[in-house]
Symmetry: C2
Subunit: 444 residues, 2 copies
């Protein structure tokens, strides 16, 4: 009764106190908090305290759905239907050298399912699709809404940056989470990802949730929990959603670094990429076209995808998109012409034996020191820098065999990167056991 | 190693993450955070997240001491030694109608131990000594440092507002805790109280930690924990500190409300106040003068205090302080002349029986609705408004006997206050068991 006599400001404190004490917030209350935060009535400090209380007490499934919807409702959602009857989107929770979007998106588009993806930039050891795409000279990823829709209509494929108009409170909240050490909560992560996906308008959403040392989810069971939560949020918002759990212990493929990864993605579309990149890409693409209902079953979907690779229509889709977004399609057909790093050093094995692990996080950090990634938002990066692995988990290596190539534009950075990279390799006398790349094929 | 490459801003995030994950902060780190918060390098949102993480994970004893010292070091500490060789201070953790400061401070000063107290204002159902003192027309509590020291030197007794120069980060942090629902943590409470006490310069500090329904600590064991922590902080800073645990289930004394409480405090100094007010006041005063080392033992201290009451020197001290701080000493000798409320209504019992409880919180809220307290900082209050209890725990009351008087300047407020007040009384057929007012005589 004291509180009733008090101002609206105090009502916010009451909601924070409820979450602090382990209680639940209603949809209306969450919506009030997010609206208030977006328009400034709820202070940064109050939202930060709420975020830490959520890290402490967690969010229920319904609270997570309400939060996601409140974030979507903070802006307007993109309507893709004026240009395509149905579109698909794909999201990975982030890892090292995950270039599958560059393979999956053109593949799916070539099978007749338009792909409209808003991607992110790399931060710390995790790469970002936008940075990879910018390895194509001239290509623009910061598209206006009409450019985004126009590219989607014309090519059936577009990959752009996240529009600040979509779920704007999500961006504000995400920045606050980074500043306040309140990132690692499953409900906050799920709602942050799904708010962007829901606002971006695709009907079909496939999620690639990474598990392993180089991912946010260290264990598969954490990844399954996150995947289930996101699928549930998406389905309760009326979308077709599925998720895959894939391993992120070692880098995906052999190339790590923006231009190097683009080249590897193109090689995969041409049928001579690394097996793991192909396997995961086909799996995710197949999930997308199955969810769309355009193909009757797995066999039909697989056959169609195989054809899109073989007849080069997937590669052509990528080339068209690059062209429409301001790049040169010739670079897709001749990726060897993309700018390369002036310094390439080979790291050689000091010993013989089996490689039992190539730590993704450590490789990612080595790339970061080469300038391939950024430690702060808005930092410029060196697209040509990176690492190409010659040995991966399970490889047998003799003394002096090549373990990796280090690509760099500044040879002063080589020494530190070499040390970090060397430390990423673990060794054994026996071949390590198999770990399936796709840990859990489908979470529905 | 990623973090090392990042900015100072990120270092703060690392500290927040450590506390979030249940780790400990060093003295240097806590000092860095408080300095940064005070000068704006650490954002409000970051401090709010830290505060919630502290509510979650707690503070160790050493962290609490470090935090207290960091808050003291955010400003300069007051040096009382130029005007008095030793001074005493007293702090209560807050309750309803606790007017003991107005009795204890003049009593102790009259025994030759100067008292320099910085007091607070009331908020919500809890009263504040400054508001009570302002019942004396003309009396000023917002004193400059030189006025504070001058009054202390001249009278041996001064009660003023907390100087914003002392432990300024404490004030900023306290405001943030109120906004962010991060108040109820024992380490934060202890460091907040003790930072102000240490900065205010007294060598002798006696703490009255309240336990019960009308106090922050609902149980005696919580109160003992808080008391121990504060005593430890004070002792490790080289002060003479002791604490008492006293019950705050029902209001202390009979008068609730500023002028009414001043009148009751003066009655106590004259030897005809309520027994509970006298008992607690003598106990706290005796702790203070024993800690000072000016009296050999409890018996000597008690005898001296008794004399200060009987020879009226304690009352004279209060009168001198009121005069030097701008009021009229005549009001101390004739408190019946202080402005009274135009409306006085008697609440009568609807039934006969024993009063088994008079809920302090409910009585406090009833007073709040009368205008005797404030719900927001800087709100003006009605000094004459309040309640005088005629029945307390253990009283036998017949039908239509007076339970309380309600004093009010606005008769429209009477109805609501009467309802709240009626609800504060609990009844039984048998007399309730005794509860000792002083639950734990001394915590050292």
């Amino acid at each position: 009764m004291v509180d009733q006599a008090m101002s609206g400001e105090i009502a916010v404190v009451d909601l924070l106190a409820r979450k602090r004490d382990g209680g639940q917030l209603t949809g209306e209350e969450i919506s009030y908090l997010i609206r208030g935060y977006h328009d400034g009535r709820v202070l940064d400090s109050q939202m930060a305290a709420l975020l830490m209380a959520i890290n402490w007490r967690g969010l229920s499934r319904s609270e997570t759905s309400f939060l996601t919807q409140a974030l979507v409702d903070s802006g307007r959602a993109l309507d893709l239907r004026p240009v395509v009857p149905m579109a698909a989107d794909k999201h990975s929770t982030g890892g090292v050298s995950d270039k599958t979007t560059l393979v999956v998106a053109p593949l799916v588009a070539a099978c007749g399912l338009p792909v409209a993806k808003m991607a992110g930039r790399g931060l710390s050891f995790t790469g970002g699709t936008l940075d990879k795409l910018e390895s194509f000279p001239g290509l623009r990823v910061e598209l206006t809404e009409s450019e985004f829709l126009h590219t989607l209509e014309r090519v059936g494929l577009v990959i752009g940056g996240q529009s600040p108009d979509l779920a704007p409170a999500e961006g504000k909240l995400y920045a606050l989470r980074n500043l306040t050490a309140t990132v690692p909560n499953i409900g906050l992560i799920a709602s942050s990802i799904m708010a962007k996906k829901l606002a971006a308008g695709a009907q079909v959403i496939v999620l690639d949730v990474k598990a392993g040392s180089g991912a946010f989810c260290k264990t598969e069971s954490e990844a399954v929990d996150l995947a289930r939560l996101m699928v549930e949020i998406g389905q309760s918002a009326g979308r077709q959603v599925a998720a895959t759990i894939s391993r992120m212990d070692q880098p995906l493929g052999r190339a790590v670094g923006n231009t190097l990864e683009v080249q590897e993605a193109i090689a995969t579309l041409r049928g001579h990429g690394p097996e793991d990149v192909l396997e995961l890409s086909l799996h995710l693409a197949s999930q997308m076209i199955l969810l769309s209902g355009l193909y009757a079953d797995q066999a039909a979907a697989s056959a169609r995808l195989q054809r899109a690779l073989e007849d080069s229509t997937a590669l052509d889709k990528l080339a068209q998109m690059v062209e429409v977004q301001g790049g040169r399609s010739a670079d897709v057909y001749h990726p060897e012409n993309l700018a390369s790093a002036p310094y390439v050093e080979t790291l050689r094995a000091q010993r013989a034996g089996y490689v039992t692990a190539v730590d993704a996080l450590k490789v990612g950090v080595a790339c970061l020191t080469l300038g391939a990634g950024r430690t702060k938002k808005d930092q410029s990066i060196d697209h040509a820098a990176g690492i190409v692995l010659h040995a991966k988990r399970g490889s047998y290596v003799g003394v002096s065999d090549a373990l990796a190539e280090i690509h760099c534009s500044d040879d002063r950075k080589l020494g530190r990167a070499r040390e970090l990279l060397e430390d990423a390799f673990a060794w054994g006398e026996e071949p390590p056991g198999e770990i399936a790349l796709i840990a859990s094929a489908t979470v529905l």
